[in-house]
Amino acid sequence: MTTAPPTGRRYRPPAPLGGRRRADGPAGRGLKAAAFLAPALLILGAFTIWPMLSALRLSFTDASGFGEPEFIGLENYVQVFTDPDILNAVTNTALYTVLFTPIAVAAALALALLLNNPRLPFRGFFRTALFVPFVVSFSVAAFAWSYLVDPQVGLLNYWLRGLGIQLGNVLEDPHLAMPMVVLVAVWKLFGFYFVIFLAGLQDIPTSIYEAARMDGAGAWSRLRNVTLPLLSNTMAFVLIFAMIAALQAFDQIYVMTGGGPYGSTQTLVMEIYESGFRKLDIGFASALSYVLLAATLLLSLVQFVFFGRKEKDLA
């Protein structure tokens, strides 16, 4: 069994052997790569990238889904940046992302760290139980949570009332609705991040911990100086995908609040859906989607930079 190098960095490939380079010119490698990539690129190209390009074209038109769309230049984009509803949706989406991403990732990480303790009893059970919410669909999750916090017959409201906490009508409360829909997303998604962190943790050889312990490092110091740095790859991966999930928040909001009360849970994707499928303004919905795409791309790059990942590491 080969172990990871003691630096704990993800395994760096050795320099390619000289012989291979000579036998296998750039053209040959390109062809090989093309063969491996072809099926996936064909699917992605046809069913994701082509529709994306169509949407880009539509974003400069007044398309409604019927008839010939008319070219209207940047009008949709101008509207995106001037419409107060969009500003509200941007604010809400930002709030959602800022609430969801750290909470979900921190919860997943903390539980993974705790579960990684071999002395903990019932580890198998906890591990399984914490993952179960992930297999529940967002619509079912939203439905179950709505029922739990129903002001009339909600079990959670009833129990909390017994403890002297008046939850009130959570989904109709402009201050509580957003935390509530974030909570449902955390509940539904943290199990997946948790499993990924567990895998990352189990990748770290115990020999490093033993060495650290012999150097007199305490639990906190081992966490800060060994575990977290060695998890940084996993962390970057989880953070990026958690952030993308947050920026595209839609499902549970659609079911639980419909964007209300007073638009306080109206996110960008809710706005995109409403513009496209309720007001039949596909052109505007497409423009808004592209603005979201650009923002997501930018934020992802910031994250890569933050994690000290140079361009070289990314690809």
């Binding site: 409604s64 889904g65 019927f66 008839g67 002001p151 009339q152 009130g168 009508n169 109709e172 409360d173 419909g258 209300g260 009360p261 007073y262 638009g263 409403e274 496209g276 499928f277 309720r278 007001k279 039949l280």
Partner: protein, 419 residues
């Protein structure tokens, strides 16, 4: 339901040919046609509608109509995509307030010629029902339902509280509701409410418009002008906020669905609803009766729940002609009465004699009040934003915010949506 050929893994499947618009032939009309009809009548009304469709299919040999039953919400979710790719239905029924936006974007065929044709059986349709399918004075659909919102009340609770007559005015209504509100443990939260008045997402979005009408107010005038910021509407909001919050006759923060649930759980003595409340009440063993929304200081009126069916762009001329034949059949003397009886909605034609529908007590009660109904936002294309503005207005007003400020804000949003 017909079986469809399904190919797995094969490119260029032939299944397409079996589906969708059944557009055969070119511009000729009168030839054989197979039409798809999407609607959301999922209950007993769906069976009656299917019966009418079956009768139509049997009544002639050229045209076959296949129905596809979905929920109203999923029709709205899937229609745009399907039509954008030529895979949509030929005929689609939808809630009337969703009609203008589709018509405006060119999704539906204009039906003025059909209405002008004497054999279309449209001459005696209720004027309110026809108004709701008109966009810029052209007609784009045929109504399949038009009924004013009404009060459904729990007769057992009325009896227990000793109420004998149903209130006729707003003041009486509030007094009765107070009488029916029970707070046994005195904790300030009644266990039983006299009435449930949702403050947003009300049934068919019609509760607050109905109340506005009662005091002589309105929301939109002549499709283009927002008139929501009026002293009449301010007074209406003040009056009902005081009744809901101070007199506690209704819970706050409830939506239309929640209202129906409270009524069917016996926790509210009155609710404002549509004809389906009758079957919901029966299912929940609640004895009920139906009454008109009591008169406001100025008028007695109620926003109407409307449903209409339209011919889509996916229907060619031949299919459109076939669809019109079906519409005329649907509206003929026999079916107008049969549909009303079976669906539990009042007849769409004013010339259906009362005796024809007396056998269904719900229909009989609703028919009596049918002329109180006003279509909701007829012809308003961006009803989404207008309705959202009303929801925000009423929800914030009931929550205690400044009504004058809210109305000014709503006025601006509504006007913005109309421009």
């Amino acid at each position: 339901m017909k079986r469809k050929t399904v190919l797995i893994g094969g490119a260029g499947s032939a299944a397409l040919a079996l589906l969708g618009s059944g557009c055969s032939g070119g511009g000729e009309t009168g030839g054989p046609a197979t039409l798809t009809f999407w609607h959301g009548y999922t209950e007993a009304d769906g069976d009656v509608l299917q019966g009418i469709v079956d009768d139509f299919n049997a009544s002639q040999s050229d045209i076959t109509i296949n129905t596809e039953v979905k929920t109203w919400a999923s029709i709205d979710d899937t229609l745009l995509t399907a039509l954008s790719a030529g895979e949509g239905p030929d005929i689609v029924a939808m809630p009337a307030e969703r009609l203008p936006v589709y018509a405006d974007k060119g999704a539906f065929a204009e039906l003025d010629d059909f209405y002008n044709d004497e054999s279309s059986n449209t001459a005696n349709l209720l004027p309110g029902a026809v108004a709701m399918v008109e966009i810029e004075s052209r007609k784009y659909a045929v109504p399949t339902g038009f009924v004013p919102l009404a009060v459904y009340y729990n007769t057992a609770l009325f009896e227990a509280a000793g109420v004998t007559a149903f209130p006729a005015t707003w003041d009486e209504w509030v007094a009765t509701a107070k009488q029916l509100t029970v707070d046994e443990d005195g904790d300030g939260t009644p266990e039983q409410y006299g009435v449930v008045l949702p403050d947003h997402a009300t049934v068919a979005n019609g509760l607050w418009p109905s109340l506005f009408y009662g005091n002589g107010g309105d929301i939109v005038s002549e499709v283009v002008d927002a008139v929501i910021d009026s002293p009449e509407n301010a007074a209406t909001l003040e009056f009902w906020r005081s009744a809901i919050v101070d007199d506690k006759i209704s819970p706050t923060g409830v939506d239309g669905v929640g209202a129906d649930e409270l009524f069917s759980a016996g926790k509210a003595a009155m609710t404002i609803g549509g004809p389906w409340m009758a079957s919901i009440a029966t299912e929940n063993n609640i004895e009920y009766a139906i009454a008109p929304i009591p008169a406001g200081p100025v008028a007695q009126a109620a926003s109407a729940i409307g449903v209409a069916m339209a011919v889509t762009v996916d229907a060619d001329d031949n299919a459109r002609a076939a669809a019109e034949k079906f519409f005329a059949f649907f509206l003929n003397d026999d079916n107008a009465a049969a549909w009303s009886l079976g669906s539990g909605w009042p007849p769409l034609r004013s010339d259906v004699p009362a005796e024809a529908v007396n056998s269904n007590p719900v229909v009989a009660s609703l028919t009596e009040i049918a002329d109180l109904g006003r279509p909701l936002l007829p012809g308003v294309v961006n009803s989404v934003d207008v309705l959202a503005a009303i929801d925000e207005l009423t929800q914030r007003a009931v929550a205690g915010e400044d009504i004058a400020g809210l109305l000014a804000e709503a006025q601006e949003t509504v006007q913005g949506a109309l421009d």
